[in-house]
Amino acid sequence: MPELINIRDLPTSVSERRVVVVGAGPAAHRFVTALRGRGDRSDVVVLGEESVAPYDRVNLAKHWDPDHDLSLTNVGMWNERTHLVTNAWVNSIDPERKSVHVNGETELAYDELVLATGSAATMPPLPGNDLAGVYVYRTVNDVDRMRANVEALSSARGPEKPPQAVVIGGGLLGLEAAGGLVKYGFETHLVHSRDWLMSSQLDEGGGRTLNRAIEQRGIELHLGQRPSAVLPAAADPSTVGGVAVGEDLIEADLVVWAIGITPRDELARDAGLETAPNGGVPIDTACRTATPGIWAIGEVASFDGTCVGLVAPANAMAEVVAAQLTGGDDEFTEIDDATKLKLHGLDVASFGDSLSRKSGTLDVVMSDPVEGVYQKLVLSDDARTLLGGVFVGDAEPYASLRALLGRQLPGAPKAYLSGGGDVPDAEMPDDLVACSCNNVTVHEIKQAVGQGCHDLASVKKCSKAGTQCGSCVGLVGKIMTKEMEGAGLEISKRLCEHFELSRPELFEAIRLSRLTSFTQVIEKIGTGRGCDICKPVVANILATAFHEHVLDGGRDGLQDTNDRALANMQKDGTYSVVPRIPGGEITPEKLAVIAQVAKEFNLYTKITGAQRIDLLGARLEQLPQIWQRLIDAGMESGQAYGKSLRAVKSCVGSAWCRYGVQDSVGMAVHLENRYRGLRSPHKLKIGVSGCARECAEARGKDVGVIATDKGWNVYVGGNGGFTPRHAELLVSDVDDRMLVKVIDRFFMYYIRSAERLQRTAPWVESLEGGMDHLREVILEDSLGICDELESAMGDLVADYRDEWAETLNDPVKLARFTPFINDPQATDETIVQVPERGQVRPATAGERVMISVPTIGIGA
């Protein structure tokens, strides 16, 4: 591990108040985010005993894949006022002195203390539990250790005799652990003390349905029993060999305990704080403990005598304390204990009074043993108010129903169960909590739609609904669709708040009125001062309409940083450099220069999908030096950063290939040199194949050119990416000259009439008449614009200049490649790279938290 700064070097407080948080789990993370979200400027110090930044424990199972990043925090959240100290075990609290002791050596004063110590997995004091191969399932460290052991076991045993695992505890965690082990090829046994699985959440009918579903997955159940001992292996008495359950002995190479959780209240108890009889630190509705200045949140907090092992109440408590500390009066009044099992392909969920504990409740049950489905609604004695529910095998209704907990059902209860008929299309009450992890109401989702979020991704981002456990995403989608339909929402083509026009309208207006600067454009046809959406669009239009350098005439302030630095910014603030390699053809001399430059500037080197070479990790100030070298060697900008033509991909073609019928490389080079630098609504790609075998994958491009024995077939509107689509045939067997004319017209027509960030595929689809219309315009000149389109393209081609060559000759432009305006020699020291496979890559958030300066950790 890199060297860490010691807690002793924690800077003295810069604020009026220091808030210390003990524990760095999900509750702590939510608390810090909420506090900062409220603009609070206290010093915050988060002390966590684990060695990593807060992570999403709920999705711990995903950590079986070690590359899956569970981290909850973005690095930027830790700054000069917000310190995360990892490997920091708080060993005592002194409520009198208002301080905590860390790792037995450092005392840290607080004004407000938030206990967020969570819980530990329970392991009974049974003989054999100290053997190697016995685990609990709580932290990333637990999973790392298990994974290492599992991999060793699998390779030692070979495929004939699979390794065997025993999971003890048939609740949510036990089932998740068992599911993970089955995936790893373990023969898995599950021991549970009751007669059916998930017995705290499910009634007998649901539980027995679940038993069957789990057995069908090949997990052997041992129900109604408890283990009496964990036994050593005969071969190696220091490792586990089996578990004694009643009369049986189950052989085991690995044992996982998942029988429950114990709140980590030891710190509070030692400090003389009040603790609850069932464990945990009691809190009131403000999440205050009985000791002044001390709050408790998450699994360690005991509310109404219970601690809850779920993340939704932990988040809610964190929000309450953040509010209380910033003058708010939010309260925590109700525990939402709805749960959903996260086992792939098996729906299990429960909420409310799922076990029908209250007297006089009515159950509406649907049970289909053939399909393995069991569903139950628990209703008040008048059969109207929803009190709880159980779903096994099909939890489709769960998301909408749990939100209705405690309310009158708008329709007949039966209708809400699978196959029960149509659910009445009643309006959902605004104050319903649709996403309980993040406490987002129906109203807030509707608001997000009202604020312009018209797809699920933006509604989730804007409202935060569905971003944690994900079980409500279906519901969120429904609310969004309904709201949009209700509002008669026709998708607006308005560019942004500053322009009512759509992009094609704007293009025409700019071209016809010959507006040549952003100021003119916004004053004549917009309002306000522009933003990150309209500024790059206008700059792009100006570049096509008047062929100016993108950085000329004050246009650089309009550009995305990629266009401004003439390079693609990467996640760590460095850039990538992509020289143009037309048609993918390159001389050994140029290749050698690229290699030298990469080596000298320590750039990560990768071949791109477009037959080019990407050099990543260049600092802003290095870009001019790098480009000078490339340009001296006869190369030029590849415009990989722009919304412009990227590359023309080709196969080897008739010059070398025995099947080739046309010179695809020659044509590719010609086309790339013709359209290089062309600015467009979105990136543009071309492919040229020398025969029908299509080795250049040209039909996955915006323009695909495929050789025939008579000439070329031209396909348009293809793309890879998120929604792959094959290009469609526009015209067949054209000669070289006609080929260029057709592409000129197609590109120019697209550039003038497409929406912002609309690629050619959706653009063609959006045209009334689609491909037929396109053929009429481009081949039959139905609009009488072909000459004009060709001449506009001809002008652009004639005016092409290499942006990088121009920049290197302009001292004003060059001055912008200085990282710090007040210190031209300084470089950005927060850029941290680590080695990987013989090259470098940016340090991950987790690695940077530990390496970088503004954050603090404790050295070993």
């Binding site: 002793r8 924690l10 003295t12 407080s13 810069v14 009026e16 220091r18 900062r36 979200g37 603009g39 973005n74 690095v75 930027g76 959240m77 700054n79 000069e80 050596e105 450092t106 005392e107 840290l108 004063a109 981002k461 804007c462 935060k464 708040e497 500053h498 306000g528 001062r529 522009g530 933003c531 990150d532 500024k535 790059p536 004050g554 650089d556 302030g557 309009l558 550009q559 995305d560 940083t561 990629n562 401004r564 630095a565 910014m569 996640k571 760590d572 603030g573 802003l620 990282p819 710090f820 305006i821 007040n822 210190d823 300084a826 950005d828 927060t830 850029i831 958030a845 940077r848 970088s852």
Partner: protein
């Protein structure tokens, strides 16, 4: 045992140190610039109406020191900076994020004395 105590400041204003950065004319309109002040990365902006703003240069989404390289704009009359990486948009007056309320950036007061831009730092 090391004891860390709190240094109390009587009022926030007293603790501002006005730190000179650069001649005013060197900051271009609508094009942000980063400065290194007391080891911190600060972003400076001059908006269309020649008002000056300063914020942390660190993009809270990614931790990269790049905010000044975003697009300076305006939303509902408020001056904004859009992060060049994941495009979060921040109010330059308050530092609050207009696109994701979990994010914010620190902002600092700015003034010009004898043609030199000064930023008020409280650290």
């Amino acid at each position: 045992m090391t004891v860390l105590t709190r240094k109390t400041h009587s009022t926030a204003v007293e603790t501002l140190t006005w730190t000179p950065v650069v001649e005013e004319h060197r900051l271009e309109r609508d094009v942000g610039a980063a400065a290194l002040l007391k080891g911190r990365h600060i972003a400076l902006y001059r908006t269309w109406n020649d008002r000056l703003y300063a914020s942390s240069n660190v993009d809270p989404d990614t931790g990269a020191s790049v905010l000044s390289r975003g697009i300076v704009g305006e939303s509902g009359g408020v001056p904004t900076i859009a992060s060049p990486l994941l495009k979060a948009v921040f109010n330059l007056e308050t530092g609050e994020c207009l696109t994701n309320d979990e994010l914010s950036v620190e902002t600092y007061p700015v003034r010009v004395v004898d043609g030199i831009i000064q930023v008020g730092l409280d650290f």
